[in-house]
């Protein structure tokens, strides 16, 4: 964030402040840190889930292969793996967010302070 923006704070409108922050390299870094994780991860879990649904529809022979001589088959394992990956992605995201995203967000929030909304309280 540019220090000039803060020095001229009394005369500038909240709109300018938000635009200045949005254009700052720190904010670009924050946006990149968040999107760099959540977008690829969303694509990954969606493709993985879609694969499961498509296999359930079109690869019945594969899904019905039994593991050894038990009644547990590929379909069940595949389904349970969806649980495993969901838990895993949730855990990875929590770890990533608290290490990489939160510190950047806190820093910008601190520098920015509480800016009143451009046209009074929203919502």
């Amino acid at each position: 964030m540019s220090t000039e923006a803060r020095d001229t704070a009394p005369t500038e409108t909240p709109e300018d402040r938000y635009l200045a922050v949005q254009r700052s390299p720190e904010f670009a870094q924050l946006r990149k840190a968040l999107r760099g994780f959540v977008f690829p991860m969303t694509v990954a879990f969606f493709v993985w889930y879609a694969l499961y649904v498509i296999l359930s529809a079109y690869a019945r022979d594969f899904m019905s292969i039994r593991i050894g001589d038990s009644h547990i088959n590929v379909a069940l394992i595949f389904g349970l793996l969806q649980f495993v990956t969901t838990f895993l992605i949730a855990w990875l995201y929590a770890r990533y967010a608290s290490r990489r995203v939160d510190p950047l967000a806190d820093k910008i929030h601190e520098e920015l302070g509480e800016v009143p909304s451009a046209d009074g309280p929203r919502g």
Partner: protein, 557 residues
């Protein structure tokens, strides 16, 4: 006829016990509601529980809000009768939470205040967007509400053991159903109007605890019958289903392969894909789930609550696997369908069987049945309260305060309108449920999910991530998704032109799939894009404010 007498004695013991336990739950939750009402002073208290809940508490409440009768009774029933295919619901309902966790929860918490529309209308013209959001919120919530209340009505006759021709406290099965719907409706109105979000949240926390405990105990008992050998549970389930190994594989209910009919087989498989996509994308667009993120103080607490919710809900769906296959193995599909064709009583029947085995005799069976039946009623109550709250909040905050009153209503006026709305929506839901008793519950839930995924989700994602998005795009996305989902369902085999349709004797069906998601979700996203680019409106400064606030938490309420 000693067995018949014994069975009747059982049903009367179970019935009395169910009623007592249910009354205990009602008494406890009403006490909490009255206590919560004393803590409810501001609009933030009423709409968002004063943002005072911890991540864990809200995670439990999300579980209580999300794990509906459709999850508990419905999924266990589908697995018990159709085997593996019921598992698809569990997986879709769980994976869906990643959309909420990664893309929606924290950003929504940072930029909104009370309702879903707060985020959608943030940088738009308030009136058109809030009106659209209120229409969609109320539509989704009412469909979902009807499903729960119709389900409650259907269940009560079965759980209280009122068979055709017999009466209970002077009521036959039809009268008992209506009495249940009115009772459930009246309780949810009381929870919401008196307790607001605080009262509702505690009801949901208590219910989540009861449901998790009940399902855990049943799962352990089922597994112990099979000496904790999953394979032998599955083997017995497959054998007693009469369908062999096919019972453990996909394809008995969804994506059914019809011999010598390639077209129908193709449609069935498309329908499976459509259901799959609607399940995974619907959750993050359900208004009653979204407003739960406002009950915690920060975005980080919202993240924590989703993490807890994923853990709780995921564990619960693993339990349903054991309950469904356990019911297939220990109760058997014949006994289940004799009680309820759709299999909705599989879980309570399993409880009765487990009670017989572990607690001893018919009394044991009656005891466990009564406990699980009471838990099922608690489940329904907590979910309908959440839905009533979501729709009345939207009606009061979005429509009354921001459209009718131009944002100039006082907090007190707004909350009063919210309370009156809850009463009105509750009354309408009771009336509709009485007339809609023959509607298929699964159809109502599928419709709610399809509308949420087709209308709400595109609008939310574009709002949060697309700079160019504008008023026209938001209204197009919501109405486009909403209307396409409803129209496609209206012309689907669910409504007419099939043996299981709502109007099985008429035929105006031309859309081949039961679930509209495959078409209506992409259509909703397309409408949002098209509506945006044909309008010149663009407010970069407002997007800067939304983006900075949603990512940093600056200016969050």
């Amino acid at each position: 006829m000693p067995t018949v007498l014994a069975a009747e004695a059982t049903s009367s013991t179970a019935r009395t016990l169910t009623i007592i336990l249910f009354l205990v739950f009602v008494a406890v939750t009403l006490a909490i509601t009255v206590w919560a009402s004393r803590q409810t002073k501001t609009a933030t208290d009423f709409y968002a529980g004063g943002r005072s809940f911890s991540g864990f508490q809200n995670g439990m409440a999300i579980g209580g809000d999300y794990m509906s009768a459709a999850s508990f009774l419905g999924i266990a029933g589908i697995i018990a009768l159709n085997g593996y295919d019921g598992f698809l619901y569990s997986i879709g309902f769980l994976v869906a939470w990643l959309v909420a966790l990664l893309l929606v929860a924290e950003l929504l918490r940072n930029s909104g205040r009370y309702t879903m529309a707060d985020v959608l209308a943030f940088r738009m013209r308030q009136k058109p967007v809030r009106t659209a959001a209120a229409v969609s919120t109320i539509t989704v919530s009412i469909f979902y509400l009807l499903a729960q209340m119709v389900g409650a009505g259907a269940l009560v006759a079965l759980l209280l053991g009122i068979k055709p021709g017999t009466t209970f406290m002077g009521m036959d099965a039809g009268a008992a159903k209506i009495a249940t719907i009115v009772l459930v409706g009246a309780l949810m109105i009381i929870y919401v109007t008196i307790g607001g979000m605080k009262g509702t949240t505690y009801v949901q926390i208590v219910k989540a605890f009861l449901l998790m405990t009940g399902a855990l105990v049943m799962t352990i008992l089922v597994l112990s019958v099979f000496k904790f050998n999953l394979s032998s549970l599955l083997g017995d389930a497959a054998q007693s289903s009469g369908k062999g190994e096919a019972f453990l594989e996909p394809g008995l209910r969804y994506g059914v392969e019809v011999a010598n009919n390639a077209t129908q087989t193709f449609y069935n498989k498309m329908d499976l894909l459509s259901l799959g996509i609607a399940l995974v994308l619907g959750t993050a667009g359900l208004p009653h789930i979204l407003i739960r993120f406002y009950t915690v103080p920060t975005a980080r607490a919202a993240r924590k609550s989703v993490l807890w919710a994923i853990g709780i809900i995921g564990t619960f769906y693993l339990f349903t696997l054991a309950l469904g296959f356990g019911a297939a193995a220990l109760v058997g599909s014949e006994a289940i369908t004799a009680q309820d064709k759709a299999g909705n009583t599989a879980a309570p029947q399993l409880a009765q069987e487990l009670g017989r085995r572990f607690l001893g005799g018919e009394t044991g069976g009656a005891t466990l049945l009564a406990i699980i039946a009471a838990v099922a009623f608690a489940t329904i109550l907590a979910v309908v309260a959440g839905l009533t709250l979501a729709s009345s909040s939207s009606l009061a905050h979005d429509f009354y305060a921001n459209v009718v009153k131009d944002g100039k209503a006082s907090e007190r006026q707004e909350v009063n309108v919210a309370r009156i709305s809850a009463l009105a929506i509750g009354a309408i839901a009771i009336l509709l449920s009485i007339f809609a008793q023959n509607l298929n519950v699964a159809f109502l839930v599928a419709l709610a999910f399809a509308v949420a995924a087709s209308g709400n989700l595109p609008a939310i994602l574009y709002s949060l991530f697309w700079k160019r998005f504008n008023t026209s795009g938001a209204t197009w996305a919501i109405y486009g998704g909403l209307i396409s989902a409803v129209v496609l369902v209206f012309f689907s085999p669910v409504v007419s032109g099939s043996a299981t349709a709502m109007f099985s004797k008429s035929d105006w069906q031309w859309f081949p799939l039961n679930n509209p998601g495959l078409i209506s979700i992409p259509f909703g996203f397309f409408c949002g894009w098209l509506g945006t680019i044909i309008s010149k409106e663009r407010d970069d400064a407002k997007y800067a404010e939304l983006e900075v606030r949603s990512l940093t938490g600056s200016g969050a309420h």
